[in-house]
């Protein structure tokens, strides 16, 4: 039976207000870049990877700094990453099954 240990409530290294605002500025710039990229016709050939990278960067910034996963216990990261991996697997499986392995059909 596992020993019971006192609860450690909060990580001690959460960012301060200044860092939160800096991150918000970065998120704002990335969002503006996403929308700008959408309207530039010459970027069409590379727009999908560009949007994916920009979106993943925003996602990571919010998760690491606003949700404090960068500073918190790794068990929390484990729960979240497990869910993310399952979600990615499901999306990949859906696209593989319904687009790559099946003939086009009318719905």
């Amino acid at each position: 039976m596992s020993a019971r240990v006192p609860v450690v409530e909060h990580a001690e290294h959460h960012p301060g207000a200044t860092e939160y605002i800096r991150i918000a500025l970065v998120l704002t710039v990335i969002t503006a870049a996403e929308v700008a990229v959408y309207y530039v016709p010459s970027l069409r050939p590379v727009i999908m990877p560009m949007l994916m990278v920009l979106s993943a960067t925003k996602f990571a910034l919010v998760v690491m700094f606003y949700m404090h996963l960068k500073f918190d216990n790794r068990l929390f990261s484990g729960f979240f990453i497990f869910g993310l991996v399952c979600a990615a697997f499901m999306i990949t499986a859906f696209i593989t099954l319904f687009h790559l392995l099946s003939a086009p059909k009318a719905f």
Binding site: H10, K58, Y66, L75, F80, A87, F94
Partner: protein, 202 residues
Amino acid sequence: MEHVAALPAQAHVGETSTGLNSRKVLMWAFLGSDCMLFGSLIGTYLVYRGNYPSGPKPSDVFDIPYTSVSAFALLMSSLAMVLALAAIQRGDIRRLKIWLLCVAGLGLVFIGGQVYEFTTFGSEGLNLTTATFGSSFFTLTGFHGTHVTFGIVWLLMLWMLAARGQMTQARSLDVEIAGLYWHFVDIVWIIIFTVVYLIPAI
């Protein structure tokens, strides 16, 4: 005058086998499972987004500048949320109340925008039964909107507790857990905004 208790953060929680707060563990487990829910909804949307035989196509109805403003409002609500958490961790209940109201207000702006968008789409001929594109689009964005609505109610309840002097520095974990949920709905929208709105018209 604000009521700030001097109780230590550990005062109202017991011991666990991991040393972690069980409510926070539960919230992260829930968020992990919610990733799977939204993964399946996004996957379904990606499968059906090209199927609109009897209705308007995505590029006919999506208004990117309008949705960008909505997405920005939700993104900035995440900033207000962390500032609310920082405020209660300092014991500043007055600022906690201000930031909680900001978060709920920005959430309401987002939901109001979504209601307007859905109404506009309906008037342009796109609804839940128009085509599988419509079904998957409304199911995905509707589930997200429901999450945001639940978050707004949660935040307003925290604000009411703070207004009645029942939120103290010792209860900062309550705000942190609500914040985790709120940031999660924000990151889900980050993905939806890119996958649903920006990529389909390419």
